[in-house]
């Protein structure tokens, strides 16, 4: 313990119904109170975000008859970043008769998360997974099919069963359009009010319950307050804290961070996922990174020149002078080791001077053997769209020259703490999809993000939120003139005025870029106590500079993209500090989080279950005062904890 944080009371999930794991979801649904259909239209729910989780939740709550207000920052709900997911969606359908089951998907997800997620939640996710595919097909999602007309599946991310459903390399797009269309159907039916180009800037808490939000109309700049019986955050992850990530440019943590400041606990903020197969940075102008599906590792071989600094054309480097480092280090799994292992190995090679490409931050992913073995046409049919995308961005032809890849931030497993009902520590505030922390532990399996977003939105939240709404409607007479609503809106206006008044000498983006490089360096795929303490100092210093020297041009009452970004970056500063504090506290290596102090003699990750088998849920105690850590112990009744080994 140190002066960076304090320890609070332990935390218990009071909504987990207990009993045999197969029966828990049934039991919870049965015990949850219902709202009669006639009463639902008198109850309102605000949903922030229209990705897979938010879009599916808003549509489903609208179908149920609630009055839904849906908000997104984009110009259309269909543009939420779920749309960019490529690979697929897992479901325990066992259509292949290859030994899959709910139990196996549950087990794989717990193990993949390195034993840092809740058994009850993950089991329910696996149970619900089957209904998601049914729902999507009924909506017209054009999944890949066999010639016989039945659904095709593939194996994904090194899993031994074929449980991943996909729609070419655009599965996220197609699932999101399914949810979007269901949402627009409810807009037409009058159950959902849709507000595009509207951004949530604060949460309104009245008498200890979440009752509304403060929203900025991004076209007029008007600050609006909206009240409802309950609030759902489906605002996505916080990968953009790193500046460079595979997230969309607008992805931000403001909704969840503002809720955190109003009392919602933030769980496991240091658990972020780094994806090994991204296109490397080409220069300082880089604004974002592009992911290429990791299915490429099924056929590509990863290597670097054996001699550091060897800058010959890769085609001129003979076999004997190449180091296929994953195949050498992990003969059993080779190029198919999990994302975190592949990422860290690549970074270590680059740090040792073996990196390739103009920046030295890249390793080769070579298809020459696969093309020789299978023929160009097979490779083209499998990966054609990815090869085209690579060529568009780099101007290199991967059929001729090996691809260059480098790890990048892709997903955040941490998020607001929620109970089994997906309710945060603020009553009436529910958090779904990537914005919560619930199902992926310390690392997420490939093709599981889409599954979780849709499970939460279509099936879980619509069943648990009733229990809250039935017992806790907004008191009659409370409207937007309530002092708490006025106070929240005033605070938002003051903050905007403050940002506009600084008129300093640096752009918002320049601060964001610098913050990102601090996080990447010290709170990325490998961390240690010294680096994290150093990073906290750097972040605090930079945050002070930001508030005294940032320049935000223009006015409040207009479309102002610099102002939008300034508010988001200001929140990233505060979140970044908490990420480092959480990483510092967790002195073990687990999942995507490698602490250099906690490794085996062979240099592999060493998890420390005795000390860290808990969810770290952080309480905000005020700016400049140390956050308080609440531990939720993780109990494992159905899986046996094992150290991962890929040798």
């Amino acid at each position: 313990m140190n002066d960076l944080y304090t320890l609070g009371e332990p935390l218990v999930d009071l909504k987990d119904p207990g009993g045999p794991i197969e029966d828990r979801w049934d039991k919870r649904r049965f015990e949850a109170k219902l709202v009669s259909p006639a009463n639902r239209r008198r109850l309102s729910v605000i949903v922030i975000g229209t990705g897979l989780a938010g879009g599916s939740a808003a549509a489903t709550l609208g179908e149920a008859g609630y009055h839904v207000k849906s908000f997104c920052y984009q110009d259309s709900p269909r543009r939420a970043h779920s749309i960019a997911a490529q690979g697929g969606i897992n479901a325990a359908k066992d259509y292949r008769n290859d030994g899959d089951s709910i139990r196996r998907l549950f087990y794989d997800t717990i193990k993949g998360g390195d034993y840092r997620s809740r058994e009850s939640n993950v089991y329910r996710l696996a149970q619900v997974s089957e209904s998601i595919i049914d729902q999507a097909v009924a909506q017209g999602v054009p999944f890949a099919r066999e010639y016989g007309g039945l659904l095709d599946t593939r194996s994904f991310g090194g899993v031994q069963v074929s449980r991943t459903f996909y729609a070419r390399g655009q599965t996220g797009q197609q699932l999101l359009l399914g949810a979007y269309q269901a949402l627009e159907r409810q807009v037409q039916a009058g159950t959902v009010d849709l507000h595009t180009r509207h951004e949530m800037l604060d949460l309104i808490v009245i008498d200890g319950r979440a009752r509304g939000v403060v929203i900025r109309d991004m076209i007029t700049g008007e600050i609006e307050t909206h009240l409802a019986d309950a609030v759902v955050l489906a605002s996505g992850g916080y990968g953009n804290a790193f500046y460079l990530s595979t997230n969309a440019m607008g992805c931000n943590a403001t909704a969840i961070w503002r809720a955190h400041r109003k009392g919602a606990l933030f769980a496991n903020p240091c658990f972020t996922q780094i994806h090994p197969t991204c296109i490397p940075v080409s220069g300082t102008h880089q604004s974002k990174l592009t992911l290429m599906s990791e299915s490429l590792r099924n056929d590509g071989r990863i290597w670097v020149p054996a001699k550091a600094g060897d800058d010959r054309d890769p085609r001129e480097i003979p076999e004997t002078e190449r180091d296929y480092f994953l195949e050498r280090m992990y003969p059993a799994f080779g190029n198919l080791v999990p994302r975190d292992v592949a990422s860290r190995a690549a970074k270590n090679q680059c740090d040792a001077g073996h990196g390739v490409g103009p920046t030295g931050l890249g390793v080769y992913l070579d298809f020459v053997d696969a093309i020789g073995r299978l023929g160009r046409s097979v490779i083209e049919s499998k990966y054609g769209n990815l090869f085209d995308m690579y060529r568009k961005i780099t101007a290199e032809d991967p059929y001729q020259v090996p691809m260059r890849i480098y790890p990048a931030i892709h997903y955040t497993m941490g998020g607001l703490w929620v109970d089994y009902d997906l309710q945060s520590s603020i009553p009436g505030l529910f958090v779904i999809g990537e914005a919560n922390f619930s199902d992926h532990g310390a690392n997420r399996l490939g093709a599981s993000a889409l599954m979780q977003g849709l499970a939460d939105g279509y099936f879980i939240l619509p069943n648990t939120i009733n229990d809250y709404l039935a017992a806790n409607p907004l008191s009659p007479g409370i409207d937007t003139s309530h002092p708490e609503a006025v106070k929240a809106a005033t605070a938002v206006r003051d903050r905007i005025e403050k940002l506009l008044a600084i008129n300093g000498g640096r752009s918002v983006d320049s601060f964001h870029r610098e913050l990102g490089s601090i996080l990447w360096e010290h709170c990325g795929m490998e961390r240690n106590a010294e680096g994290l303490e150093h990073a906290i100092g750097l972040i605090r210093g930079l945050k002070e500079q930001f508030w005294s020297n940032v320049r935000v041009t223009g006015h409040d009452e207009e479309l102002n993209q610099a102002l939008e970004r300034a508010g988001r970056v200001a929140d990233f500063f505060e979140l970044a500090e908490l990420m480092c504090i959480d990483a510092l506290n967790r002195a073990e290596s687990c999942g995507g989080h490698f602490r250099s102090e906690s490794q085996t003699d062979e240099g592999e990750a060493l998890r420390r279950d005795g000390e860290y088998a808990y969810v770290a849920a952080w309480e905000f105690t005020g700016l400049g005062t140390p956050p308080r850590l609440h531990k939720e112990n993780l109990e494992f009744e159905y899986v046996e904890l094992q150290q991962r080994s890929y040798k």
């Binding site: 984009q74 543009r79 007309g149 269309q181 037409q188 440019m249 592009t290 995308m389 752009s507 610099a562």
Partner: protein
């Protein structure tokens, strides 16, 4: 590379708007077009000018948010490429590049290069879905779908709703957008019950929004970053006709 940009600046919907010239220097050929605009905006910010407002989000060519008319071409000179995936290596040192917003009555300008495309969402609201309330679905493999139908549905579903088809069309028609959705849903067995009414009601909304009619010019498909083929408009016409002439049709 040093580039001269002539960019449409318009403070808000009511402002008249005008082209304004800017220079950007030391542009790397590896930059994306939007990263080049980021460089311009960084310059403008430091000199205290209002940065150029433009829509963009995923920068991977899939969200459909980016929307620039570049030298008179929707999404610029590269085929099958959204603006965000266009790179500066396709331009030369000394080039003068004109950048304008989508031009269409149905897409009013909000600011600079940003237009309001909510008309496309309203077309979808008018019937661009299959009515399948959550929880009501049968097992996914209950209905088999011939692979050619699934592929055809996917080809339509690949539309990213960017609006380039409208911007490129001399008639300002959104028929390619409409045809893509009609083909997507109408190619699947799940989409049959509402097929006729969908085509009629979506087309009525399309017309009500002020989009023009289709005269089969084909500019839309030439600029479409998602490669939506022109024959999807034929599918649209087929389904509308069917919807209007079926007994019990509208």
């Amino acid at each position: 590379m040093n580039i001269t940009l002539r960019i449409w600046r318009q403070q808000n919907h009511d402002d008249q708007g005008r082209m304004v010239s800017y220079g950007v220097d030391d542009i790397s050929p590896d930059m994306s077009f939007l990263e080049m605009l980021d460089v311009l905006n960084e310059q403008l910010t430091l000199t205290g000018d209002d940065p150029v407002a433009f829509d963009h989000d995923c920068r991977e060519g899939i969200c459909g948010m980016c929307s620039l008319m570049i030298n008179g071409l929707a999404h610029g000179p590269e085929a099958l490429t959204a603006t965000c995936q266009l790179h500066m290596r396709h331009f030369a040192d000394g080039d003068v590049i004109d950048i304008e917003p989508w031009r269409s009555n149905a897409f009013p300008v909000i600011k600079d290069l940003i237009v309001d495309r909510s008309a496309l969402d309203r077309i979808v609201q008018a019937g661009g879905y299959i009515s399948a309330p959550t929880g009501s679905a049968p097992d996914a493999n209950t209905t088999s779908v011939a692979r050619k139908d699934a592929d055809r549905a996917f080809d339509g579903a690949a539309c990213i709703s960017c609006g380039a088809c409208v911007a490129a069309c001399p008639n300002g028609s959104a028929s390619l957008f409409l045809g893509a959705k009609i083909t997507h849903l109408g190619s699947l067995p799940q989409g049959q019950p509402e097929r006729d009414s969908r085509a009629v009601s979506m087309t009525a909304q399309h017309d009500a929004e002020g989009f023009g009619g289709c005269t089969q010019i084909g500019e839309c498909t030439a600029v479409c970053p998602a490669g939506i083929p022109l024959d999807m408009i034929s599918q649209l016409n087929h389904d509308v006709l069917s919807g209007l002439t079926q007994p019990g049709g509208q």
